[in-house]
């Protein structure tokens, strides 16, 4: 690690993009216009499952003001037979069918055609004039409906166990022999759980503005979790080469994984190409709720066997996750992360990818891991209760540590899980008294974290300041972290560092903002680039002083002779050397492009207190503490912000959020009023305890922090509800109607 004096690393600096965002000056996806701009709208399937026999767009095209219409005929087809064409974790066969239905519409809201017109109203009117001949098919929404005998099959080519099936795949992680493990066990607890699909809930709907010049040069202005993903997917789906597509990252109004794929960009590009006009498309909230995200609903069964002293000897988890219309639910996260915090000799963790007639799931904060952890951490709570053990003590007894082989493969290096358990145990929250109808729960969680490709440029301006360009959209304050690190390395004031996000044609390839990878990966490339810049600065000073570069050190923003023996020279500051740059070899700057390695997994342990209003069935979280090993908190406020944001989303998932479907197979609550995310008055202050076990493979010790904090939450809340009421809930959300029904149940029985 090359941490210097920590003047800036660990400081709560003002973020570089802050003033823009508190004054309304920041430009998000829907905030720009272009001369001659027209509006695009999508026609969406009203049916959950229907064969598209014909589409007639003639009447729409004849409407005055309509400039272009596109259907699936205009989109590059990735045929099923030719096999997978992967872009990251996305198979373009499904992506091309998700942005526009081909032979079948697979969920209500599935795009069927798109129109561009001189106004939004005309575009919407034109959509109504498009005639689609549907053959409506039977549908399946829930997992049980999709798996039962005779269920309507979404993808007829698919077979599971030799039969046509909606199970699109199965994966497993295995260690030891569970049959033997359960034979060794003295106590076994097995429970089944369900969770509902929940939306990422970003406040900014998907939007883009796209212009295609007559020579094919394309400019995309959109918000996403990766401008390079936008460029690549748009290129693949439209046939325009990547070198002709400049994807500019707008400020992004939340993503949480949901903006790691495209919905509108390929359609707007084709509309712009056909019409010769810039095309703007903005989804309504209803479109966001019907056709984007969410994460999977699930059915899980978890069985854990232990000795009477609390030693866990065997664990079996099976996780069925909804993929929505196309394969690709996050089973890897559920299978791999659920048991990872524990050192268990015999583990089988299996996941099943289940299609049904709902929108294709998208990544959501530690995809799959919270679903698995909910089941596992609730069973552990029951195990602790049965063994009359403290639930943190049970976890401590079985905690993974350096050298533990995880069922999903790796042998853990130095990790900080035990430290999070100790910190939770010693936290005043854990010993605080509880009142009537109040309860406390704990739970832990793990997420893989990711490294991968990142690029950055560090350039010294002519007046001796610094511009850093990275390739990752900044959702949660990553520019502030990068500025802290760059100021630290160069030994200059933080305010002299400007950090911007480059577009696809001005900075090297950088993979998605996702996997909790951004600060890990981008600070790695920025550090290497800054080191190169410092080497140049030392060489320049050495040349001016006519001494060896080795005799020059860089300190406090200036070159100094390493010792009086090296010579007596006045320090040369960054400004001095920048001024002399033209005569000393030219501009000073460096760029670095890497496939970063060494992102280590992250662990967290949460403590949740709830109070239950037994008259209304309302569960209120009254105190919450999130403990997490964060590696190194480069900007503690934004690290805490990640923890607090993850916890809030988890509380929503645990207590209220769910899609409600009507009898026609359509989402009945596609808005923020009825899809109830936590509001300010629903939550208490959310306390954070940052444990810092530096990542030895990173120059500043950074570990990903953004996703872990969602993983333990639902189990922590569920365990707290049990502690308050003495009743366990095995399905989410624990919403007022469900809680009321459970509270009323014994009374009814008594009455009978």
């Amino acid at each position: 690690m090359n941490v210097v004096n920590n003047k800036w690393i660990g400081q709560r600096t003002i973020r570089p993009d802050g003033v823009d965002k508190v004054t309304g000056r920041a430009a998000f996806a829907a905030d720009t216009t272009m001369p001659g701009m027209i509006w695009g709208k999508v026609l969406r399937s009203p049916h959950p499952h229907a064969r598209i026999k014909a589409i007639n767009t003639a009447k729409a095209e004849a409407l005055p003001g309509v400039k272009a219409v596109v259907t699936s005929r205009d989109i590059v087809d990735f045929t099923i037979e030719k096999g997978a064409v992967m872009l990251g974790i996305q198979d373009m066969r499904w992506m091309c069918r998700n942005v526009m239905a081909r032979d079948k519409a697979l969920f209500p809201g599935h795009p069927v055609a798109a129109v561009a017109a001189t106004s939004e109203e005309i575009a919407a009117e034109a959509c109504k004039l498009i005639e689609v001949d549907y053959e409506v098919l039977p549908w399946a929404i829930e997992i049980d409906d999709a798996l039962k005998d005779g269920a309507p099959i979404l993808h007829e080519f698919n077979k599971f166990d030799g039969k046509p099936s909606n199970i699109m795949g199965r994966i497993e992680s295995k260690k030891g022999d569970i049959a033997q493990g359960f034979k060794d066990a003295e106590i076994v607890i097995e429970r089944s759980f369900t969770t509902r699909p929940v939306h990422q809930g970003y406040i900014e709907p998907h939007a883009c503005l796209i212009s295609v010049a007559a020579d094919g040069k394309t400019t995309i202005w959109s918000s996403s979790q990766g401008q390079f993903m936008v460029r690549a997917m748009t290129s693949m789906l439209t046939g325009i080469p990547q070198s002709d597509i400049r994807a500019i990252p707008a400020e992004i109004g939340g993503g949480f994984g949901g903006k790691t794929i495209v919905y509108l960009e390929p359609l707007a590009t084709l509309l712009a190409k056909k019409s010769g006009r810039p095309v703007k498309m903005v989804m309504t909230r209803e479109e966001v709720m019907r056709a984007t995200g969410p994460t999977s609903g699930s059915k899980s069964t978890v069985k854990i066997g232990a000795k009477k002293d609390g030693t866990i000897v065997a664990a079996h988890g099976s996780f069925y996750l909804q993929a929505g219309a196309f394969p690709g639910s996050p089973i890897r996260g559920a299978v791999g992360c659920s048991f990872a915090p524990y050192d268990i000799p015999h583990v089988l963790s299996e996941g099943f990818d289940v299609c049904s007639n709902r929108s294709k799931v998208a990544a959501y904060r530690a995809p799959g891991a919270p679903i698995g952890a909910y089941a596992v951490e609730c069973v552990l709570d029951e195990l602790a209760e049965a063994l009359k053990m403290d639930p943190l003590a049970l976890r401590l007894k079985n905690a993974a540590k350096e050298g533990t082989k995880a069922a999903h493969g790796p042998v853990f290096p130095r990790i900080g899980y035990i430290e999070t358990l100790e910190a939770a145990k010693n936290h005043p929250h854990y010993a605080a008294p509880l009142g009537k109808l109040q309860g406390r729960g704990v739970a832990s969680g793990f997420w893989f974290n990711a490294g991968g490709e990142s690029s950055a440029q560090v350039n010294i301006t002519e007046d001796g300041n610094v511009v850093v360009t990275t390739g990752h959209p900044d959702i949660g304050g990553s520019r502030a972290g990068i500025a802290n690190i760059c100021a630290e390395l160069l030994g200059i004031d933080y305010k002299r560092v400007s950090v911007i996000i480059g577009d696809t044609q001005t900075v090297g390839f950088s993979n998605l903002t996702g996997g909790s990878r951004v600060l890990f990966a981008s600070s790695m490339v920025v550090t290497q680039a800054a080191d190169k810049v410092i080497a140049t600065l030392r060489e320049r000073a050495a040349k001016l002083w006519e001494i060896d570069p080795e005799a020059v050190k860089w300190e406090n923003g200036a070159a100094h002779p390493v010792s009086p023996n090296a010579g007596q020279f006045e320090p040369l500051t960054l400004a001095d050397l920048a001024e002399k740059a033209p005569s000393q070899g030219g501009p000073i700057g460096a760029s670095v492009q890497l496939n970063t390695q060494g992102a280590e997994g992250g662990f967290g342990t949460h403590i949740c207190d709830v109070e239950v209003d037994v008259d209304l069935g309302i569960v209120r979280v009254i105190r919450y503490t999130a403990v997490q090993d964060v590696g190194r908190a480069v900007h503690p406020s934004y690290v805490e912000g990640q923890l607090q944001g993850g916890v809030a989303q988890g509380i929503g998932w645990a207590l209220n959020e769910e899609y409600i479907y009507n009898k026609d197979g359509k989402v009945d609550n596609p808005g923020f009023l009825d899809y109830r995310m936590p509001v300010c008055s629903d939550l208490p202050m959310l306390d954070c305890a940052l444990v810092e076990v530096p990542n030895p493979k990173h120059p500043q010790g950074v570990k990903g922090v953004g996703e872990v904090p969602l993983v333990p939450v639902m189990a922590a809340v569920a365990n707290a509800v049990h502690n308050a009421l003495g009743k366990r809930f095995y399905s989410l959300p624990m919403s007022p109607p469900k809680v009321s029904a459970a509270l009323d149940a014994p009374t009814q029985q008594a009455a009978e």
Binding site: G24, F28, I203, G255, H635, S637, C680
Partner: protein, 160 residues
């Protein structure tokens, strides 16, 4: 359908514009008036990202017709800083890192300013219920509530 002529005041400046009878204030602000600081998150009054004040009263501009601005005073996020000087709430939001993606921030600030204009000494509960109409999916509200409480305390101190 003929457009309506509206004479109003936006952030203290006289403004005239033409709008469709069905056009929302949010569309007029973000469209022809070029004030894109107010955001559209839902267009149903549930998220508060489009919060503005109408004669000092907090409203969702997506639920207000543009024509209703006639003769009234509109204030938006763009009018919150005085020249180059940030409003104490804006400064405190930055210091507390009370924003992550920033899409809700304009509405949060406008709503918070409206609260402090009515109540210079709000309790945490009052802040939480006042801001319950402004959704934030990133922060869990913790740092936002702290920033508002601390600004209120400092503004009270300054006013003494």
């Amino acid at each position: 359908m003929a457009k309506l002529h509206v004479t109003t005041s936006v952030n203290g400046e006289p403004v005239e514009f033409l709008c469709e009878p069905y056009e929302t204030m949010l569309d007029a602000l973000r469209g022809q008036l070029g004030l894109t600081g107010s955001k559209e998150g839902c267009s149903s009054g549930d998220c508060g990202a489009c919060s503005i004040t109408l004669d000092g009263r907090l409203v969702c501009s997506c639920l207000m017709l543009a024509a209703e601005a006639e003769g009234h005073e509109i204030r938006t996020i763009e009018g919150m800083a005085r020249g180059g000087e940030l409003h104490p709430l804006q400064q405190k939001f930055l210091e507390h890192a009370a924003l992550q993606c920033g899409i809700c921030t304009s509405g949060m600030l406008v709503a918070s300013e409206a609260l402090l204009a009515k109540n210079s000494n709000p309790t945490e509960e009052e802040v939480r219920f006042w801001l319950a109409g402004n959704l934030c999916r990133c922060t869990g509200y913790d740092k936002i509530v702290r920033a508002v409480m601390e600004t209120a305390a400092e503004m009270r101190e300054t006013a003494r």
